[in-house]
């Protein structure tokens, strides 16, 4: 602390020689002149004192017949005096500080975390309408207000947090993934279960609704399996009224899938020569500048780009992007596919197809595939038999209750 004050006010290093040096030092203390860092050096003393004190010791020096000589001038005022002519340097310094301050007033990066259903695109677009985007002023952004507005605009968002860190805005979002309301709504609408493809019913367990088929029945696409309309009959056996409900049943049916996969006999393959070139490019506000590179361009190449925003430190993003383009040369080569190879490729494809089906909950019972050779290609053909959950929902037709007017008429006759 003391050192900083000394530096700011400036001080001089003084050499003292002469006859009554001790007397001079005592006089200094009596005149309240502060002296520090005193050293003794063969016949001479060296010490520091402030600049203003140095001007007031003239009479003491005369009185004691000593000599003072300045060795060094130190401190901030001295520094300013020494560099008084370097005005541009000073201007540059302040300009630099000013620019950093000015740039730190803007947002250079917006990040969204925790969204799963809402896409980043929609959120960015929404934020843009709220005047929050790269380049908007930090001052105009009220984090709490923005949080409230996001929650209002997207009802699925149950929690948000908007944070400003340096020049980076982070939006954290938690979405409500269980949409309870939707489930309720569909329950209220009366629905049938309808066959979505042709198959043989293996088993049917009905929880609500009227089953229209039984195990062993062959059904075609569009056939109603479970009816969501329940007839209530009176004593005579005539329909008194209809009650509607949402049909619900576990139906398992045997279905067949046809499968076909063609492998051409000749294929073109990309063979990379192993040569590659890297070129760098700069982006600024949709302007693009590719730095020149040496050597010829490849006749055939694959281009891989990597774009990165430049930043200072961790959170200070700049409006510049650096793009790295990697060019990889390749040659086209035709390749004769043998039957063995084709079979391998086709079977691998079949495997993928089957595993995709199994992922959907389909149980595969049987598969019949044959390899065929045609003019230009090999064909793997066959059928796959499988057990699977069956049926899709369809709205029930609402029927009018047969009017009883006829009965009344009969009676009157």
């Amino acid at each position: 602390m003391k050192r900083i004050l000394r530096y700011l006010s400036g001080y001089v290093r003084v050499e003292l020689t002469g006859y009554a040096t001790e007397r001079f030092l005592n006089l200094c203390t009596n005149h309240n002149i502060y002296i520090w860092d005193m050293e003794h050096r063969e016949d001479a003393y060296e010490f520091s004192m402030s600049i203003s004190d140095f001007f007031s010791i003239r009479p003491l020096v005369k009185k004691t017949k000593t000599r003072v000589r300045i060795q060094k001038k130190m401190g901030f005022p001295v520094f300013l005096f020494r560099y008084r002519k370097r005005k541009l340097f000073l201007a540059g310094f302040f300009l630099g500080v000013g620019i950093i301050y000015l740039f730190s007033c803007y947002i250079w990066n917006v990040e969204i975390c925790g969204n799963s259903v809402l896409s980043e695109e929609t959120l960015f677009r929404y934020l843009e309408t709220e005047k929050v985007y790269v380049g908007s002023k930090k001052k105009d952004i009220n984090c709490e207000e923005l949080e409230a507005e996001i929650r209002q605009h997207f009802p699925n968002v149950i929690w948000t947090s908007v944070r400003l860190e340096g020049t980076k805005l982070t939006v954290d979002i938690k979405e409500n993934l269980v949409t309870a309301e939707e489930n309720k709504k569909t329950e209220e609408i009366p629905q049938d279960i309808v066959a979505d493809k042709t198959g043989v019913i293996q088993s049917i367990i009905t929880r609500s609704g009227v089953p229209q088929v039984k195990a062993g029945d062959k059904v075609k696409k569009g056939k109603i399996l479970v009816l969501g309309r329940i007839e209530i009959r009176d004593d005579i056996g005539e329909v008194k009224e209809y009650k509607y409900c949402k049909a619900d049943a576990d139906i398992i049916a045997k279905t067949t899938y046809s499968y076909e996969y063609r492998v051409p006999k000749q294929t073109e393959q990309k063979v990379f020569t192993g040569k590659e070139k890297k070129r760098y490019a700069l982006w600024y506000n949709k302007k693009y500048l590719e730095l020149p590179s040496f050597g010829k361009d490849y006749p055939l190449y694959e281009k891989e780009t990597e774009k990165k925003q430049l930043k200072i430190m961790k959170n200070f993003y700049l409006p510049f992007y650096l793009q790295k383009n990697t060019y990889r040369e390749y040659e086209k080569k035709t390749h004769e596919v043998s039957k063995k190879e084709a079979k391998q490729i086709a079977l691998a494809n079949l495997e993928v197809f089957l595993s995709k089906l199994e992922e959907k909950g389909v149980q595969i019972i049987e598969k019949n595939v044959i390899m065929d050779t045609e003019k230009n290609e090999y064909v793997l053909k066959g059928t796959i038999t499988a057990n699977e959950k069956f049926g899709i929902y369809q709205d029930t037709k609402q029927l009018e209750v047969p009017k009883e007017e006829g009965n009344i008429e009969n009676e009157s006759e």
Partner: protein, 88 residues
């Protein structure tokens, strides 16, 4: 036989440095000596510093003695201290 002043100072527990004008010497390890209540410097070399107090002369012996600061009230001496001696 104590004087009246001494008796008074003792019974009233008055600070002795004020009443007698006695100097206070604080030694911190072998490196630092803080001297309060002195009148002036008589001699100063690298080997010793002779200081005038109210009723005695005080000499600090040592090697590479430096005066870190000195004001009207106190001074701080830094260096390798050997001994401190009073002269009448």
């Amino acid at each position: 036989m104590k004087s009246v002043k001494e008796n008074m100072v003792e019974t009233l527990e008055l600070p002795k440095d004020l009443m007698y004008g006695a100097s206070i010497v604080t030694i911190t390890g072998r490196r630092e000596v803080l001297i309060e209540n002195y009148k002036g410097i008589l001699e100063y070399t690298e080997e010793y510093i002779k200081i005038q107090t109210k009723n005695a002369k005080l000499t600090v012996y040592g090697k590479r003695l430096n005066i870190e600061y000195y004001t009207n009230e106190d001074m701080k001496v830094v260096g390798f201290i050997k001994s401190i001696e009073f002269e009448a």
